[in-house]
């Protein structure tokens, strides 16, 4: 019973239920142009519009005064007094983040951060959350690339409690084993989802290509490195890095410097010192001429395109003109990439650029998510826009708009005590002088069109960029080769031969006499909790086999009916999904042709009609499970099945690889099974099929989704 699951989020089922206010949708604005008269009002066409008032003079941002000191143990303390409201934020930063994770233990810093608030000698996880809940405050901990932080926000009169709690969780975490297992499970689930999302696949590959395998900035967490984490690793990581001379305490809000210093000495005075500094990261190796890394995601109707390369170090004064450049090229919905690729050409849902600013060298990235058919054109246009900003000066209007946005939005980011704390801390952690923060707006305002072109020529290098495309290589591969040399990989990052994509007639013969009428009931587990049921039946009807299935999962219902002959030749398939995402597919097979219709959500291809000649041995979707049920399986065997795909409108290869045998226990009993990895369809999954014939599915796991089907009964 291999179901094509729609993506679902279990959390959405329990989400906010009381709708009191209905918001106006934030639709992206259309392309700007001369002020136009609203259509449908010809009578007023001659009306003259008054333009909006010009900006009033820019006031200097008076950044709240702050005071820096160092405690005897080497802990740096920054106090920012902002006394307009009785709130306080207390944040401890440690200058070690995921970039310090050992290669075999990627995810260590992140896991350590997650567990800080899960237990101390004085409080267990529930007591920690109750302590902060009872004063209406917030307590958070997280890890980034270069540092980790833990912070508490409270009313100002609760500052002593915040100090007590924050010092407890940061200096004396116990990393309870059961909490580690809970967090590990949650992290693995999240990672699974990430690894199935094209945007994430592309991003992970991009940083790997920009920084190389040796540079920690190029690495990403993997399931095996999360599984490898031991409690002792967390304890050691904490001991080595949570040192006073590697930390920064920022306290902001309605506080007095004297009280804060006294509390800091009391609660953090015993934080040990003696951090062993690590050598700064070396710059990544230079890259050769651009080539395309194409990651094959079969059945994909869109492509994620990323073009990126090394950027600058945080203290580089060219940061300001580069910020302006980034805003003009792709920093928002009125930037060039968005206006051209989306508004003008209509190719994409979005196209943006980003300038990253970590502790060491950052990157510059331009990206777009486009329909498969225009992948090559969109890539060419992205590259053109990167060349254009080098070749011609930006217009005065673009320059003014970008500067006004950057200067204007800055004060909106320093409204609250915790926002201020985070800005000050970031400034310090990047090793920047105080002026960088105070003079941000002046420096942005001083940027000229010449500055932008100078930095474009110096730092924007499309010819040496890493280019990542995640999409259906069968559809986009050929046209991309005309843009640049292409290297092909599967979604797991393994190199692929182009020939693997060719769909060939299948000569496999399957013996339908091995099938038996049956009704199988499954329970659907979401993150380990039962959330729905699925029923799959197979019956003889009018000299044909008829397989039906019905899956109910929260708001989602999926039904299908598949018919095939006693020689296992497909006859028809009907599939429908109801709920938040609706679809309807009806296909028939006869005389070597597939005919039918599909109503799919726009992002999956929209409405379609088919009348397509297909290769011999082509199956209709939904038939794989019956074919696999009668196939000769053994570990090491790989079956390649040509299957018609309504999403792509053609035949794609589904691959079922028998990786091992396993004993699996489900509510229906314990079974000896073959473990099969099935890829090539809209959704990859792992099947555990009974070794005995017919090989009915005992358990099914969906790659990238926290959903598992377990056999409950056989009738």
């Amino acid at each position: 019973m291999s179901k094509q699951m729609m993506p679902i989020r279990a959390g959405a089922l329990l989400g906010a239920l009381g709708m009191l206010a209905a918001c106006a949708p934030q639709t992206p604005p259309p392309a700007p142009g001369p002020a136009t008269v609203t259509p449908g009002q010809p009578a007023e066409a001659a009306r003259v519009r008054t333009p909006p008032p010009a900006p009033m003079p820019l006031q200097p941002v008076e950044f709240p005064a702050y005071r820096e000191s160092t405690l005897p143990n080497g802990l740096r303390l920054i106090v920012v007094e902002k006394r307009n409201l009785p709130v306080a934020n207390l944040s401890l930063y440690v200058q070690s983040g995921s970039a310090t994770d050992p290669a075999a233990k990627l995810g260590l810093a992140e896991m350590t951060a997650q567990l800080l608030t899960k237990g101390t000698p004085r409080r267990n996880a529930l007591q920690i959350s109750e302590t902060i809940e009872s004063v209406g405050g917030n307590l958070n901990a997280s890890a980034g690339l270069d540092y980790m932080s833990a912070s508490a926000s409270v009313l100002a009169d609760q500052l002593p409690l915040a100090f007590d709690l924050l010092s407890d969780v940061t200096l004396r975490p116990t990393f309870p084993a059961d909490e580690l297992e809970t967090a590990r499970k949650r992290t693995l689930t999240g990672l699974q989802v990430a690894l199935s999302q094209p945007g994430q696949i592309a991003q992970r590959r991009l940083i790997q290509e920009i920084y190389g395998e040796e540079n920690p900035y190029g690495r990403s967490t993997l399931p095996q490195t999360i599984s490898a984490l031991q409690r002792a690793d967390l304890t050691r990581f904490h001991q080595e890095n949570f040192k006073a001379d590697n930390a920064l305490l920022v306290v902001s809000g309605d506080v007095s410097a004297a009280q804060v210093e006294q509390l800091a000495r009391q609660h953090f005075g015993a934080m040990p010192r003696g951090f062993t500094a690590r050598a700064p990261l070396t710059d990544p190796p230079a890259r050769g001429p651009a080539r395309v890394t194409l990651i094959h995601r079969p059945g994909s109707v869109q492509s994620n395109i990323l073009v990126g390369h090394v950027g600058i170090r945080p203290d580089n004064p060219d940061f300001y003109p580069l910020q302006v450049l980034n805003k003009i090229v792709g920093g928002g919905t009125d930037s060039r990439l968005f206006l051209i690729l989306r508004e003008e050409k209509g190719w994409t849902y979005g196209a943006y650029s980003t300038l990253s600013r970590p502790r060491n060298v950052g990157y510059y990235l331009a990206s777009a998510e486009v329909r498969s058919e225009v992948t090559d054109s969109a890539l060419v246009e992205l590259m053109n826009q990167l060349r254009r900003v080098r070749e011609e000066a930006v217009s005065p209007a673009e320059l003014e708009a970008a500067k006004s946005f950057l200067a204007g939005s800055f004060p909106l980011r320093i409204e609250t005590a915790s926002q201020i704390a985070s800005q000050v801390a970031q400034n310090r952690l990047l090793g920047l002088p105080t002026e960088a923060l105070i003079q941000y707006r002046d420096r942005i305002s001083a940027v000229t069109a010449q500055d932008v072109q100078r930095v474009a020529r110096q730092y924007v290098r499309p010819e040496q960029a890493a280019i990542i495309v995640v999409g259906d290589a069968a559809k986009v591969g050929e046209s991309l080769r005309r843009v640049a040399p292409v290297a092909l990989f599967d979604v797991q990052g393994r190199a692929m031969e182009g020939s693997a994509l060719e769909v060939r007639a299948s000569t496999e013969r399957f013996d339908a006499s091995r099938l038996r009428p049956v009704t199988l009931t499954y329970r659907v587990m979401v993150q380990g909790n039962p959330f729905g049921t699925a029923v799959s039946s197979l019956a003889q009807q009018g000299g044909q086999w008829v397989g039906t299935s019905n899956v109910r999962l929260g708001p989602v219902t999926q039904e299908s009916e598949t018919r095939f002959t006693n020689q296992m030749v497909p006859v028809s398939t009907r599939q429908s999904a109801a709920g938040p995402v609706q679809s309807q597919v009806e296909l028939r097979f006869a005389n070597g042709r597939v005919t039918g219709t599909a109503k799919l959500p726009p992002q999956a291809g929209g409405d379609k009609t088919f009348n397509t000649e297909v290769v011999g041995g082509t199956l209709l979707p939904g038939m794989d499970e019956y074919v696999l049920a009668v196939a000769d399986l053994q570990p090491g065997r790989t079956l390649t099945l040509p299957v018609f795909s309504a999403q792509s409108g053609g035949v794609v290869n589904h691959t079922a690889r028998v990786t091992s045998t396993e004993s699996v226990t489900v509510p229906a009993g314990t079974f000896q099974t073959y473990r099969l990895e099935v890829t090539g369809g809209q959704q990859s999954f792992t099947l555990f099929a009974r070794q005995e014939l017919p090989h009915i599915v005992v358990r099914q796991e969906f790659v990238g989704q926290p959903v598992i089907l377990e056999l409950q009964s056989i009738k």
Binding site: L17, M19, A24, P25, P55, E130, E133, S576
Partner: protein, 456 residues
């Protein structure tokens, strides 16, 4: 600390018998907000509150209109109209409002509830004039065209499909918040939903939109609030320049709501083809925002079912494992509000069992009240929410608008806060006995419905 908290509770109880204003001085405060309020000749109410700590301003307009002002056959109109407000005006092209705000580095949006419609933007201080000019332009000269109307009718219908018709518990939660607990014969104002019915949305005509605009979007039915870093004299002068010549409208008819809960108790089962598990929504009739009882009910909502340490969470989710989720709270409205309870039973647990457990916990409060620790914790949490909510200029502007509309005076924030702090354990027990009764309850049960099968 626990002991001290207990003592404070007793102290508050004693003080309540005396004068409220004296007591207020001894209690924690929610901080002071400087306020300047005035009314322009055309009736526009203006609230100015200066806070020069960050060069940011919030420009915020509340129109005194929500779904409670709608009549039968024209439900969903207030919200539909909110969408029309982004479709352009005399000097602003369609969707240009958003564009101008974003280019200035600001942010904006608008929302509609039963009680009001709000529009807000946060801008760098030197673009105060832009925010005021944009709000004045659409108050004066909204582009009301057939095309815009048609377009937004479709957008709102899509929003309804997405958020209610195709969303699990969407229709049940709305029924429990509006249609079932309120007697729609005598209190249509709250007896229908904000989003409205598809039929009514289809029926909206251009003349309705024009009438609605001239009645409810006139300056005498609006309140403009400016909070943040600005010069008061300059702001007054800009407001006069942009809003001064907008003409006053005829005052809207008052909202009618009589005996809203006279039909209770009610029990209704709603079939939901999007839901996979049953759910329970209980709504108890409550007085309006002006009654001091709502403060006690609000704190009781916190104690009973907000957060992991709340009574219902501990009992139903932790101990009995009868529910996946449970929460309670007070839905305070300008008119009569609701005390609400929501529970999602665990798979295999009958809804009746969950209902019985909730009743049991409510009964305990009715009989024994709550502890001083619980009450103090709820007060601290209320105080923290109140203050944290005012950290941004937008949050502060919204708070002042709230008090201006729900209590008639933006400065009421202080008196209301004092009222919360003055709630006693006796008050909690009394309101539990008075309002949380089976007689005063509308119960909505969600029943997962079989989906239409298309199999032969």
């Amino acid at each position: 600390m626990r002991k001290q908290a207990g003592t404070t509770g007793l102290l508050l109880g004693t003080l309540l018998l005396g004068s409220v204003s004296t007591a207020a001085q001894a209690r924690p405060t929610a901080g002071n907000i400087p306020i300047e309020t005035y009314r322009m000749d055309n009736g526009l109410r203006v609230i100015l509150s200066q806070d020069r700590s960050t060069p940011v301003v919030a420009v915020n307009v509340w129109y005194d209109v929500g779904s409670r002002n709608e009549r039968a056959g024209r439900t969903g109109f207030a919200h539909l109209f909110e969408h029309m407000m982004f479709q352009g005006s005399g000097n602003v092209a369609k969707t240009e409002h958003l564009q101008l705000i974003e280019r200035a580095g600001g942010s904006m949006n608008g929302t509609t509830s039963a009680d009001r419609t709000n529009y807000f933007q946060t801008l760098p201080a030197n673009r105060l004039n832009l925010g005021l000019w944009l709000e004045a332009d659409r108050m004066r000269s909204l582009d009301i065209t057939a095309e815009n109307l048609k377009n937004q009718q479709e957008v709102v219908k899509e929003e309804r499909r997405l958020r209610i018709d195709n969303s699990p518990y969407g229709s049940s939660s709305l029924a429990a918040a509006y249609e079932v607990p309120y007697n729609s014969e005598t209190c249509f104002a709250y007896g229908h939903t904000v989003i409205g019915s598809m039929q009514d949305l289809n029926a909206a005509e251009l003349s309705d939109v024009r009438d609605f605009f001239s009645t409810y979007y006139a300056p005498n039915n609006a309140t403009l609030t400016v909070v943040g870093d600005f010069d008061i004299a300059q702001a007054r002068q800009l407001i006069q320049e942009y809003f001064g010549d907008i003409r006053r409208g005829t005052p809207p008819a008052p909202v009618q709501c009589e005996r809203p809960f006279s039909h209770l108790p009610v029990r209704r089962t709603i079939e939901d083809r999007n839901a996979n598990l049953p759910a329970l929504f209980a709504s108890y009739g409550m007085p309006d925002a002006a009654s001091p009882d709502v403060y006690a009910l609000s704190l009781l909502g916190d104690i009973l079912g907000s957060g992991e340490s709340s009574r219902l969470h501990q009992r139903l989710v932790k101990q009995e494992r009868a529910a996946l989720q449970v929460q309670t709270g007070a839905d305070i409205r300008r008119g009569p509000g609701l005390f609400t309870a929501f529970a999602l039973p665990n798979q295999g647990v009958p809804v009746d069992r969950v209902e019985a457990l909730i009743n049991e916990e409510i009964e305990k409060v009715r009989r024994n009240g709550v502890t001083a620790d619980e009450l103090n914790k709820a007060k601290s949490r209320y105080r923290a929410r109140t203050i944290f909510g005012r950290q941004t200029t937008l949050g502060k502007a919204e708070a002042l608008q709230y008090f201006a509309h729900y209590h008639g005076d933006p400065a009421a924030y202080q008196a209301v806060f004092d009222r919360y702090m003055a709630v006693t354990r006796d008050d909690i027990r009394r309101v539990a006995n008075q309002y949380l009764t089976q007689q005063n309850r509308a119960l909505v049960l969600t029943q997962p419905a079989a989906k239409a099968s298309n199999q032969e």
